[in-house]
């Protein structure tokens, strides 16, 4: 029954989306309010229909209906309830359905929030959102149907007796429950981690979120309403998409760190990079959009960035899901590759053609010219250049070079992690420098002397900090330089917050806490942005320290034996074999970690024997200072081999991520009632 409900609601959602495209587009062209309204209602109904389809699949997962080929492939009778639920995004078919559900939810929210204010933009915006949704629903319906069930065709030749189809074939019988339960395959053990519970939906939310700004931008191009309406309608959506993508990327890093057992969190894998690319373009957009709002400039550029971010999302989806890119992450090679490539190419070309058409008509002219190289808008443009250069470098290394070389040389040429680091390190340095300098310059024009005066304090503090770090024993010049660049940006953000609050204190006599809170309420985007900058600097410090100073050693110890690693000692105490509730056997090493003669932690690194593969689960003693990270490589009661990583300041990467999320929430939070009116402080005025 669940299969029939799922299939019917999926078909209904697809039909509604297709109808909504036709109705809103025709309604807009013929100025028919009734048709547009009908299209809008159809678009709103896609959400309950997609929700019903997804609920049917979740129901099948939770109630162990292994006749569903999807349930059979991602769960087994031992799978715990949480992972039974998260198996919804454990493989291609379920995750495509989830993508559609999120897309329909975002569309409904966008219609609900923007219908009244942006009536002119809505019809075409709905048409573009529905086009994307119809594409993904169509993939689920016709290519990767999650409601296919196993059937036996008794009259067919033996090799073709078992089939999985969405509709019941004539004369088919169902496999026995016992056979189904015995054969069910279980969730990929790599996906059984809290990071994987949230990481994929967050990434999908980010990806889907970028569809909304794209749809509004396309609507502005199609309708000719190129005022700032589309920017206002999409500003917050861009931030929501950006924050979800940021969380998704950070959790992906955390998952890699905890599960993949190599002591790192970013491997420059093509699929990781595919998710990072829209983030880079999105970051460029959320900066440059401010220039269009404040100065009426960069209209063409912003439109191009929105198109590029959506195009990067679709390309990332293609790269991840088609299986054409060799990566540890990619889904199995599947038939969605070609349709995805075609959809990506078609939408990108249509968008660029429309952009070119409006540009040639002179409708995207800027209201002002850049007057000064050191003005804030110029520095923002430079910031955009850095993000786009990062985008191009990572795209080139991940996809451009392998594809171009294959076409021109007939041989694939690729680059490794070291080359990506070579590309990105100078660009990230430039990014941090700009993050520090740009907030100190003024809109319109800034003189070198004024900028120099503003730089004195943060630069002085930076030099003092580097000297303090060097005196504490950190002698590696690269690390000192890196710390310097990053803390400079952090000091600027802190000083700006301090200046704003101090101005309020002087003018209104407020206490520090009240002044800071009022400052954030009065200018959420600016000060939320500074918190984001602080988060990025904290991540930067974590990345530098854990990359430059990571140590990695391997030792074999007899039971009771201890080994010194830097100022730590690790003792191998015992070896335990135990069975987990889901039936897997766990080989657990009990170890004790000492520092300065005292015991600081008892860790349990282990190897879990899953039917598909063994998995090493690290034991880690985490402090802000470092992670003492231990992997059990092999062992028995007498001897065991451990790989020990000491990762300095690695936890700052996650803490910085949290700060970044808090800052974005502040910046994107719907405007609260204005705080007590006060004079516009010096900082706020800039």
């Amino acid at each position: 029954m669940l299969a029939e409900i799922g299939l019917a609601s999926l078909t209904l959602a697809f039909a509604l989306a297709v109808y909504a495209i036709a109705a809103t587009a025709c309604g807009a062209r013929r100025s028919s309010a009734g048709l547009v309204l009908s299209g809008r209602n159809a678009a709103l109904l896609t959400f309950p229909a997609a929700l019903l389809a997804t609920s049917a699949l979740v129901g099948a997962l939770m109630t162990e209906q292994y006749q569903f080929a999807y349930v059979y492939s991602v769960t087994d009778p031992q799978t715990p309830a949480l992972y039974r639920f998260t198996a919804l995004w454990g493989s291609q078919k379920g995750s495509l359905l989830l993508w559609s559900l999120l897309m329909s939810a975002f569309t409904s929210a966008a219609i609900g929030l923007n219908w009244r204010a942006e009536r002119r933009l809505m019809p075409y915006a709905i048409a573009f959102m529905m086009a994307t949704l119809a594409f993904f629903l169509g993939l689920s319906l016709f290519v990767e149907n999650p409601f296919e069930r196993w059937w036996i065709l008794p009259d067919a030749p033996p090799a073709e007796q078992v089939v999985s189809t969405a509709l019941i074939p004539p004369g088919a019988i169902a496999p026995t429950e016992a056979n189904l339960r015995a054969g069910a395959e279980g969730l990929n053990p790599l996906l059984r981690h809290f990071g994987m519970v949230i990481h994929p939906p967050m990434l999908y939310l980010g990806f889907v979120g970028f569809t909304i700004p794209f749809a509004f931008a396309m609507s502005a191009l199609a309708s000719g309403d190129l005022s700032t309406g589309w920017i206002k309608a999409t500003r917050r959506w861009s931030l929501i998409a950006w924050i979800c993508l940021s969380i998704g990327l950070i959790l992906g890093g955390r998952w890699a760190y905890d599960v993949l057992g190599w002591g790192g969190y970013w491997g420059w894998d093509p699929v990781e990079n595919a998710a990072f690319l829209p983030w880079l373009v999105g970051t460029a957009f959320i900066h440059s959009v401010m220039i269009q709002e404040k100065r009426g400039m960069l209209k063409l550029w912003n439109m191009a960035l929105v198109i590029a971010s959506f195009s990067a999302v679709m390309f990332g989806a293609f790269a991840t899901r088609s299986g054409v890119i060799e990566s540890v992450h990619s889904f199995a090679r599947s038939e969605v590759g070609f349709p995805m490539l075609a959809f990506w190419a078609a939408l990108t070309l249509v968008a660029l053609a429309m952009l070119l058409w409006r540009w040639r008509q002179g409708e995207l002219r800027d209201e002002r010219q850049f007057a000064n190289l050191l003005s804030r808008e110029s520095l923002f443009v430079l910031n955009n250049v850095v993000f786009i250069a990062l985008f191009l470098a990572i795209f080139w290394g991940s996809f451009g070079l392998p594809i171009t070389s294959e076409l021109l040389l007939g041989k694939e040429v690729t680059v490794g992690a070291a080359t990506f680091e070579f590309y990105v390190v100078p660009l990230f340095i430039a990014m941090y420098v700009l993050m520090g300098v740009a907030p100190l310059s003024a809109w319109g024009a800034t003189s070198l002397r004024r900028l120099g005066a503003a730089l004195k304090l943060p630069l002085g503090l930076t030099i003092a900090s580097i000297a303090a770090i060097a005196l504490s024993g950190t002698g590696i010049a690269v690390a000192l330089f890196g710390y310097g660049v990053v803390v400079f940006a952090a000091y600027v953000a802190l000083i700006e917050i301090y200046r704003g609050a101090a101005a309020r204190r002087r003018a209104l006599g407020e206490g520090w806490l009240r002044a800071v809170s009022a400052l954030f309420r009065r200018n959420q985007r600016r000060y939320g942005g500074y918190i984001v900058h602080l988060g990025v600097t904290v991540i930067g410090i974590g990345v530098i320290a854990s990359t430059v100073f990571q140590t990695e050693t391997q030792h074999t110890l007899a039971r009771g034996e201890a080994i010194a690693v830097q100022d730590y000692a690790l003792r191998y105490d015992d070896f335990i074999r135990a069975q987990a509730v889901d039936g897997r056997m766990m080989n657990i090493a009990a170890v004790t970690v000492f520092r300065a003669g005292g015991e600081i932690a008892r860790l349990r690194p282990r190897i879990d024997d899953y039917p598909q593969l063994p998995m090493k689960i690290a034991g880690a003693h985490s402090t802000l200072e470092n992670d003492f990270y231990v992997l059990l490589m092999s062992g028995d009661r007498e001897r065991a081999t451990f790989r020990i990583y000491i990762n300095p300041l690695v936890n700052l990467v996650w803490w910085g991520g949290i700060l970044l999320v808090i800052g974005t929430v502040i910046a994107a939070y719907p405007k609260v009632a204005p705080a007590s009116a006060g004079p516009k402080s010096e900082a706020e005025a800039t």
């Binding site: 059979y72 189904l180 040429v413 593969l613």
Partner: protein, 175 residues
């Protein structure tokens, strides 16, 4: 007089000089980014070849390349005390419809080119399994062993959505 006639176009000239600054800065950035991309690519680019191509072409001997092959599970050895992994990979063709089938068939083909791999100072990855696809960066030595400095693995057969599992085809007893 002369001064007056020079003062009038002062504003456009300033504008022009600003524009010149923007163009120079833009060109400088473009050159810097291109330099970064080109020099990084020249230093780090590696041919991504098959085991067969590596063994057939003498010019690859000693050169750092990236190769891909099917892991033979029985050949995997791990010296945990010295942290050295040894295993063998078998050639898989560049052109395949389905990676899992290609890996499976490659390991059944006794005539397919094989290559011994050694990876030093490495933790043995969980995904190093029979019929995994190994993507390795390193160089083939005179001894015929490929010394890898980077090892990536992919196990498509283990997590691919099912295609007609044989166990299901048993006709239910009551039928």
């Amino acid at each position: 007089m002369t001064e007056l006639s020079w003062q009038k176009p002062k504003h456009p000239k300033k504008k022009r000089s600003e524009r010149l600054k923007f163009i120079s800065a833009g060109l400088l950035i473009l050159v810097a980014v291109l330099y970064l991309l080109i020099s990084g690519t020249l230093q780090g680019a590696r041919y991504f070849i098959t085991v067969g191509e590596l063994l057939d072409e003498a010019s690859y001997l000693g050169r750092t390349v990236r190769i891909s092959g099917a892991v033979d599970g029985e050949s995997i050895e791990y010296d945990s005390e010295k942290a050295i992994i040894r295993f063998e990979i078998v050639n898989i063709s560049n052109e395949y419809e389905d990676l899992a089938t290609a890996l499976h068939e490659a390991l059944l083909d006794s005539n397919a080119p094989r290559l011994k791999i050694v990876v030093e100072d490495a933790a043995i990855p969980d995904l190093l399994q029979h019929e995994a696809q190994a993507i390795l960066t390193g160089a083939l030595g005179q001894d015929g062993v490929f010394a890898a400095t980077e090892l990536l693995l992919k196990c498509p057969s283990r997590f691919e959505e099912s295609t007609a599992p044989e166990g299901l085809s048993r006709i239910p007893e009551h039928q």
